[in-house]
């Protein structure tokens, strides 16, 4: 299968649904090892992104993702705003000109997104940040050859779960040092919802 403009728009919409539904849970995660606003930030940003996309008719996936990126950048704030903004912007750029989006192009776009996050956040894998989910998903996409909703959702969940045992060395959670162990990283949780949303779209064959 390939991703159509409608699929990509549905992805953002479904991400928003999941984030709204888990807004309080995300905030609780951020209260444990951060400042308790992650759910609020993400819910605000994805709400606006969904609204923006619903108001427009798009002819390219890249355009959907670019509007998503710009909205997240200007509405989320905090550490996660520029990082998610960068991730979607890099993905958008990589997808430009491919319509519908084939698997390989998307996998390459994810790699670009990961590089963008790394550069912006000066983080590497294992520092207990949203990068850990994006990076593991990019690697998974690189290993595989076609979209598989089931496996992708599993991969996202497991990547998120794995942050639980890590010691945070970036972002607010790093102030907790070893005490950050045992808590899921909030940004990884919301990243996992984003990939689960994509999995839903793929499974639904939308």
């Amino acid at each position: 299968m390939e991703l159509t403009v409608q699929d990509v728009a549905a992805w953002i919409e479904t991400s928003n649904e999941k984030i709204q539904a888990n807004k309080e849970y995300l905030t609780t995660l951020d209260q444990a090892i951060g400042d308790g606003d992650h759910g609020i930030n993400m819910a605000r940003g994805f709400q606006e992104a969904t609204k923006k996309i619903a108001e427009q008719t798009y002819t390219s996936s890249a355009a959907v993702l670019q509007d998503t990126a710009m909205t997240l950048m200007s509405k989320v704030g905090g550490a996660s705003g520029p990082l998610f903004g960068t991730a979607f912007l890099k993905l958008s750029t990589a997808l430009k000109g491919s319509e519908p989006v084939d698997y390989k192009t998307f996998a390459g776009g994810l790699e670009e997104a990961v590089n963008g996050i790394k550069q912006r956040g000066k983080a590497t894998e294992g520092e207990k940040t949203l990068l850990d989910v994006w990076s593991q998903l990019a690697a998974y996409f690189n290993r595989e050859t076609g979209f598989d909703g089931e496996k992708m959702a599993e991969e996202a969940k497991s990547a998120m779960e794995q942050t639980k045992e890590m010691t945070a060395t970036k972002g607010r959670a790093s102030y907790f040092k070893e005490r950050s162990i045992g808590h899921i990283d909030p940004g990884s949780a919301s990243s996992s919802y984003i990939f689960e949303a994509l999995a839903d779209v793929i499974k639904g064959g939308k």
Binding site: G36, D37, N41, M73, G81, P82
Partner: protein
């Protein structure tokens, strides 16, 4: 949640509007933003000074907008860094041709968003420089140290330098000198509640305090039984003195309240801090006691120490008409 608010999601908009209306002789709000700027901005050939960050730290940062301090302050959502587009608006509004200087507190969110804004501004041919304040000695790793109350002294001194006609490079090197020479350490007795969250951001038992806590409730060094004001003053001051050698120096001291600690308690702390400094052969040139960098209605305080040379002393004493800074 006991708060005097309307809609928890509108607190920042209503606050900035309230500020602009209340102090319209001096300040205004950039339309469609939560940026508060001086009425006389941009000042031709003066370096524009912009700071900002999450809201909930009032009077930081809008309270420091005024002649001799900031040209504009950008207010993010509560405890959430403002976004690049808003920061960019502030930069554009205060650029008088001599460039714009950004004073950023060292939080990932603030650093990332201000960095992106700087890139956007440079793309529009505005010269931008920045410093990142990391005065909080509660964090061991120097690169992760948070920016707390010491930031206000950076605002004051960089603002005075710009007002005197310093170039963008001058302002930057003076601000860097302040950052090299300033250290802070805080503690809390009671948490605060972010309006949109509705519940306290952490818990402290009736008899507990947390030493080294951040201004958003980020974890500190140690949680323990409440002790006396003298013990608390000593613990905070000793940690600062252990991190930087202030002996024999002239200094400025700030005893800052986090939101619900009465001035009475701050002066009791200040009283002891001064005694400790005197015992250590440290001379206090200027003392600030009050709420400068708060954390909503958190109870607690921080102590800040800045080593002064002649330049810093002179700049610190320059007049300022910012609402929240006693010249």
């Amino acid at each position: 949640m006991k708060k005097i608010i309307n809609d928890p999601n509108e607190v920042v908009q209503e606050m900035t509007k309230g500020m602009a209306v209340a102090h319209s002789e001096q300040l205004h709000q950039l339309p469609g933003t939560t940026v508060i700027a001086r009425n006389d901005a941009p000042n031709e050939n003066k370096v524009g000074i912009v700071s900002g960050g999450g809201s909930g730290h009032e009077p930081a940062h809008a309270g420091y907008v005024g002649k001799g301090m900031l040209d504009a302050a950008v207010a993010g959502e509560v405890f959430t860094s403002p976004t690049p587009d808003q920061i960019l608006e502030a930069i554009k509004a205060v650029d008088g041709g001599a460039g714009v200087f950004l004073i950023v507190k060292n939080y990932t969110g603030d650093v990332l968003n201000f960095e992106m804004a700087a890139e956007l501004a440079e793309a529009e041919d505005i010269r931008v420089e920045k410093v990142v304040v990391n005065d909080d000695v509660a964090v061991d790793d120097v690169s992760s140290r948070r920016g707390i109350a010491g930031t206000i002294l950076v605002h004051k001194i960089a603002g005075a330098k710009a007002e005197q006609g310093g170039s963008l490079e001058d302002v930057k090197s003076t601000a860097e000198k302040v950052i090299e020479n300033v250290r802070s350490m805080g503690m809390a007795l009671k948490p605060c509640t972010v309006p949109a969250a509705g519940v306290p951001s952490f818990e402290l038992a009736e008899n507990e305090m947390e030493i080294g806590i951040g201004i958003h409730g980020e974890s500190g060094i140690e949680r323990k039984d409440i002790s006396t004001a003298d013990d608390i003053a000593k613990e905070l001051t000793d940690k600062i003195l252990g991190d930087f050698d202030f002996s024999g120096s002239d200094t400025a001291v700030m005893v800052n309240g986090l939101g619900s600690t009465p001035d009475m308690e701050l002066y009791i702390v200040s009283n002891k801090v001064q005694a400790i400094l005197t015992d250590n052969g440290i001379y206090v040139d200027k003392t600030f006691v009050g709420e400068y960098m708060t954390s909503l209605e958190m109870a607690g305080c921080s102590v800040t120490l800045l080593k002064l040379d002649d330049e810093l002393k002179q700049l610190l004493n320059e007049p300022s008409n910012a609402m929240a800074f006693q010249g």
